[in-house]
């Protein structure tokens, strides 16, 4: 559960949202929502991955989608101790029975963190957060003062050690000034290993030198101005701002079929 964004965990795959990107043929289904596109873009990041650490919600949906469309050998690891889970349904919790029943191995939680997460064995981690700052540090603890919080969030969960233990971190977060803030109210998780931040508007990557997030890719139909407006600091743009490849029919159909299961 810590591996997921508390603000997205309710909606398994994005559900409603502004349409963004289409498959462009007459026979095509309804255009992808922004949430669907975000999930599809996240799944693409797992094309070459050997293993991924995921929480519930969009990360889980993206990883399942990747197994269907791109990478059937992808190993899914959940902090509940299930290694190599192959759930047919998108799980509601990270401890659903289907994860245990389909896993290659199940280990205790201490073993999961000590032998598996902390050691760099897992290649990619998907994380969410309530707040993210320009260096991809994350807050999932409190909004406001720690002692007298305006909003008490669920807390760290596995995130701090997932973010330092897995080889690369991909953050999946909704793009808004509420989430993309200049200064975190609380640093729950550091952004040192973050390689991509995938939002419903585009993709950010850290500058190799400064480690500050740069928008490198925007989704079809999104403007750079929209992205800046949804970001709580002056966002750096890549020299060559790519446009996200629109979802293929295969991706969109597989995603919708997956969510409908």
């Amino acid at each position: 559960m810590s591996g997921s964004d508390p603000t997205t965990t309710g909606a398994a795959a994005g559900g409603a949202g502004i349409p963004a990107g289409t498959t462009g043929t007459d026979a095509s289904p309804a255009p992808a929502s922004a949430g669907e596109l975000q999930t599809i873009v996240a799944a693409r990041r797992l094309r070459e991955a050997q293993s991924v650490f995921i929480g519930v919600g969009r990360p889980s949906t993206a990883a399942l989608l990747a197994r269907i469309v791109h990478n059937p050998r992808l190993v899914l690891v959940y902090e509940s101790g299930t290694i190599g889970a192959k759930p047919y349904h998108v799980p509601l919790s990270i401890g659903d029975g289907e994860l245990a029943e389909t896993a290659d191995a199940i280990v205790s939680v201490p073993e999961m963190f000590n032998y598996w997460i902390g050691t760099g064995r897992i290649q990619v981690a998907f994380l969410g957060a309530a707040q993210i700052d320009p260096h991809a540090n994350l807050n999932s603890t409190v909004i406001g003062d720690y002692e007298h919080p305006r909003t008490r969030l669920p807390g760290a969960g596995g995130a701090p050690e997932i973010a330092t233990g897995c080889r690369e971190v991909v953050v999946i977060a909704p793009h808004s000034v509420r989430t993309f803030v200049k200064r975190l109210d609380f640093v729950t998780t550091t952004g040192d290993r973050t390689t991509h931040v995938i939002t419903d508007l585009g993709v950010l990557e850290p500058d190799p030198d400064t480690r500050e997030l740069v928008i490198t890719q925007i989704h079809p139909g999104v403007t750079p101005e929209q992205v800046q407006e949804a970001t709580g600091w002056e966002l750096k743009m890549a020299d060559e701002l790519r446009v996200t490849d629109p979802p293929t029919e295969a991706e969109l159909e597989a995603l919708r079929e997956l969510v409908a299961r």
């Binding site: 559960m1 810590s2 997921s4 508390p6 965990t9 309710g10 519930v56 919600g57 902090e79 509940s80 101790g81 299930t82 799980p91 509601l92 919790s93 990270i94 401890g95 659903d96 029975g97 994860l99 245990a100 029943e101 199940i106 280990v107 205790s108 939680v109 201490p110 999961m112 963190f113 000590n114 997460i117 902390g118 603890t141 720690y146 919080p149 305006r150 909003t151 008490r152 969030l153 669920p154 807390g155 760290a156 969960g157 596995g158 995130a159 701090p160 050690e161 330092t164 233990g165 609380f186 640093v187 729950t188 998780t189 550091t190 040192d192």
Partner: protein, 280 residues
């Protein structure tokens, strides 16, 4: 040697007001029935300990039974916030609650150190976070390499309560599926209670089975359905609808209170297993 007795007796004998109590369970096998029995017996001033406090602790905190929560992730898994916990932390209702929070890795290592009866564990973690300055951890250097790591203090709850699928008549317990930190919690605690779906003549070894010998457990109590709306793999299913229902119900103090009175606290009806505990 584990004594088999009723849930009411077990809770009455093992748990005292003011105790630190770990009702563990990692999404799977959460001991709802035992937690509800604790509330019915009016236990209060508890320090509640759990990596993943969810609806059960939301209920216990919502009725004011806890003075403190020690945890690493307090959410309604896959759904959202724990509204009763938030109300206690944000507005002090029905009473303020102290928080001691860690990361999952920190809590897991604290339990493991507790199970080993060591005073602390060493890990790589908390580095660069604000957690380190808001909780009880201390830097420690490797005496061989000089690397800076983090020490976390052992967890040694007064009482651990966990739920499992089966016990035999000697009190040997077997659980399977996601094992969480339940074994560690039992071994770390001064006293322990295991509630089980059923008592069997003989534990049949199973794939993924984790056996906790009866001689390290104080009480075993039969509580069929005792993990609902969580689940006991192979016996009951997770009631995902109830988790979603709770998100709505628990937003309102009065609705929460009325629901708890009717379904948990009133007239000694066993909860967790019965239809009372389900989404109406």
């Amino acid at each position: 040697m584990a004594e088999l007795c009723s849930l009411a007796e077990a809770v009455g004998e093992l748990v005292h007001d003011g105790d630190s109590v770990a009702l563990e369970g990692f999404t799977h096998l959460i001991p709802f029935a035992a937690g509800h029995e604790l509330l019915r017996q009016g236990r209060c001033e508890l320090e509640l300990i759990r990596m993943t406090p969810d609806i059960l602790y939301d209920q216990m905190i919502g009725v004011g039974a806890a003075r403190k929560l020690t945890f690493s992730y307090a959410g309604n898994p896959g759904v959202g916030s724990l509204h009763r916990l938030r109300d206690a932390v944000e507005h002090g209702w029905p009473r303020p609650i102290g928080l001691e929070e860690h990361s999952h890795a920190g809590m897991a290592n604290r339990y493991a150190a507790g199970a080993a009866h060591l005073p602390f564990a060493v890990m790589r973690g908390y580095a660069g976070t604000d957690l380190a300055s808001h909780t009880n951890v201390k830097p420690i250097a490797c005496p061989f390499t000089g690397e800076q790591l983090m020490a976390v203090p052992a967890l040694r709850p007064d009482v651990a309560i966990v739920h499992a699928q089966e016990a035999d008549r000697e009190g040997n317990v077997q659980l399977w599926g996601i094992p969480g930190v339940q074994k560690e919690a039992v071994l770390a605690a001064a006293r322990s209670l295991v509630t089980v779906e059923r008592v069997v003549e003989r534990l049949e070894p199973r794939p993924g089975g984790v056996v906790i010998p009866g001689w390290v457990i104080d009480r075993v109590a039969e509580a069929p359905g005792g993990s609902r709306p969580s689940y006991s793999l192979g016996i009951t299913d997770r009631d995902n609808d109830f988790y979603r229902f709770w998100d709505k119900l628990s937003r309102d103090r009065d609705e929460f209170t009325a629901w708890m009175e009717e379904h948990v606290l009133g007239n000694g009806v066993a909860s967790g297993g019965g239809p009372e505990c389900r989404n109406p």
